[in-house]
Symmetry: C2
Subunit: 435 residues, 2 copies
């Protein structure tokens, strides 16, 4: 395909006319498709239906540690559920509390606790003039919104193919006492699909935070969410790396089964050192008596162990792989060589990250919406929803069917092309005015 | 029985000798019983086992509003679960959000939100010099501990047979801007069993709080927890009373099915006005994507409606009524006329509240513990765990079997008698010294 950047004004104008015509045709189709959120499809959720039979009225609802799951007690969660989530997170079960159904809720509570009560005796953040969080970007919008709601200043850090720009991370963390945390999705990152390199993880472990209450918020949301059996990313275990250098208090780990079993009805867990866990439990014991242990038992008995869980994840992969491929094929076919966008080819996770020409993302999302395809809002992947280049768009291919996706991505590439042509013509007009 | 207060020194000393002998015999029995927490017994939990069959792999997990309960979405909870909890709480379903499994957790979050973000635009409590909560006492220890953890000052208000002393409540709420809330368990109150009278509820609705962000924290934990079919307390609906006087924003209501279905594995809900709900949802949407809707659906399909739920509660009553009666019979038989204690005869809820002679509660609990019966810590029912009279002891009769309870209460009355005799002798010694 010819590069749009090398087209003459006349070529661009002709192309614009053609693309506008195609776009109008799309508008007549009354599409209503959604590529905006990382939700599993109904077909994926069907995979877990046998879990509904695991516990029934004839079941023994006594956990392996002798606790009756139907009654109060066991704030940290039953052993078999902790063991399962610990294996997913690569830590010992005693480091893990299974804590409701939503890892986002655990992260919210963890930040909130630091704001109100402080971490391990440090000053509560609400009493400090300024608190900053590093936000590798593009990243997960809900992480950013959560910290923003507490008045925490969000500092964007550029994502590279090996993880966040660690030079910038080190400079901030090791020198600035107001930097109290960094949001990380270290494997199949949202939305870039990047898995942090071994060197990046080691550099995280080697941080010397200026603030004693600095923590790495390690949201391992896609720990077991590989797309391919024979080509998987391996993430170095940050708890082990931190332990080697005596800094195991520096990390909070988070994970859930929301994209393993049922979304919002799964298990969520926190992994933290003994010191951190003691600190957390002090407040947690005021917050609730216990979490739903019946759902914990149901999960533990159904998923059995991390190996069985990984077999289960292969079935998810078989469903969503063709969806990723449908999007990627269309992008490759329609945009390769056009030099109006670049995109990631992830080996796992839930997203494809697309970078348009500067200044085009908002308009692409708008055009797609007006023709019936909902995309994540432009800018959503950046702190304060401000993408400095107005370039990044997150594509979530898991929820629609392959057929729907093919339509949606056809419209998407059309919107990319049309917006890019308009932009290039606009740039040329401005150049002429300037000349 | 002869009043202990009328016994001569010699009589008391003889009695002490006899009681000490009996107490030593008890110590030899190696009892290990627990009357400390309001937990249902295994037999009660068995009542809900059929709920485990309601959803299975062949089920339709689509809620009445068309939402797939297996996926993300519906932050407020599915309609049928909200309707059920709304009927329990006596409000319209649009006032209700079903919010996890733990009403304590909702209360914690509600207070925390006010501390961090403020209520409907008011100054966050963390920015105020002083925040006070009124604490009807004796009351629920976890309420008090929760607010204490945020540095909120706890003001005890005396419980009367019709509810908190409303003269004191009115004086504080209507005049002191730092008073931001009051904890209420309005029906079958923990631990006194008192249900607030109609006049008390009306006086609550008629409050003119000095603080715009004052709220009544109305924990209707025992809304449907009657012991007798033919003798039940009726609680006036505070939402309706507040609506009549245009103050529906003044109340947050809380309830759960922890003592209806499974403890810690049930449904918890908040009821609040449209304004309050909007205010809550603003933060809640940052906190989590949704709660476990599968458990909501399971409950809604099993419990069906509030009438079916009340039938279910009759089965609970049939199990725990004999336990309350075992305790009350022993207290009546062993302590009537002795003038060394008074106790409540509740028509519902989970507790019997016992008042010993002043200065005796700590010693009674200690003696019981040393002979193998665990009671709620003396003082626990008061703010800061300080019972000014060291008199109140909460008895929780639901968890042990009737046989165990009979033993436990036999020891309990013995400890009451022995401690009282020791106290009376001590008082006499002091009087003599003074003379």
């Amino acid at each position: 395909m010819k590069s749009y950047l090398k087209m003459s004004r006349k070529e661009l104008e002709e192309l614009k006319e053609q693309l506008t015509k195609e776009y109008r045709e799309f508008q007549g189709k009354n599409l209503s498709l959604d590529m905006s959120r990382g939700k599993p499809s109904a077909e994926q959720l069907d995979l877990t239906m046998p879990m509904m039979d695991v516990l029934n009225s004839k079941s023994d609802l006594i956990a392996s540690d002798g606790i009756d799951c139907r009654n109060y007690g066991d704030l940290n969660g039953i052993y078999e559920a902790r063991k399962l989530m610990a294996d997913v997170m690569g830590v010992a079960p005693e480091y893990v509390a299974v804590y409701g159904s939503s890892s986002l809720n655990i992260m919210y509570d963890t930040v909130c606790r630091a704001v109100v009560h402080g971490i391990m005796g440090s000053t509560p953040w609400s009493k400090l003039e300024k608190v900053k969080f590093l936000c590798p970007a593009p990243g997960y919008d809900r992480h950013f919104a959560l910290t923003e709601s507490f008045g925490i200043e969000l500092i964007p850090v550029e994502m590279t193919p090996t993880g966040p720009d660690m030079d910038v991370v080190e400079k901030y963390v090791n020198n600035d006492e107001t930097v109290k945390g960094i949001w990380c999705v270290p494997k199949y990152s949202n939305p870039t699909g990047v898995t942090y390199s071994d060197e990046t993880v080691r550099r995280f472990a080697a941080l010397h935070p200026k603030a004693a209450d600095f923590r790495i918020y390690w949201d391992n949301a896609y720990a077991v969410h590989d797309l391919y059996e024979d080509d998987q990313d391996e993430l170095l275990n940050i708890f082990e790396e931190c332990k080697k250098v005596g800094k195991v208090d520096m990390v909070y780990g988070f994970a859930s089964t929301s994209k393993v079993t049922f979304s919002g009805g799964g298990l969520a867990a926190i992994a933290a050192s003994a010191n951190n866990m003691e600190d957390i439990k002090k407040d947690l014991s005021l917050q609730t008596i216990c979490f739903d242990k019946i759902n914990q038992l149901r999960h533990a008995r159904y998923l059995k162990d991390v190996e069985t869980l990984k077999q289960h994840m292969k079935k998810h992969a078989a469903i969503i792989r063709p969806k990723f491929e449908a999007v990627l094929n269309a992008l490759n076919k329609e945009l390769s060589g056009a030099e109006i966008g670049s995109w990631t080819t992830p080996k796992g996770g839930y997203f494809i990250s697309f970078n348009a020409l500067e200044g085009c993302a908002t308009e692409i999302v708008k055009k797609a919406k007006e023709a019936g395809v909902k995309l994540t809002g432009a800018g959503a992947t950046y702190p304060y929803k401000k993408d400095p280049k107005d370039s990044n768009i997150r594509i979530a291919p898991t929820y629609p069917s392959v057929e729907e996706l093919k339509q949606a991505v056809e419209l998407f590439v059309l919107c990319v092309k049309l917006t890019s042509v308009e932009k290039l013509l606009e740039n040329e007009n401005e150049l002429q005015k300037g000349a």
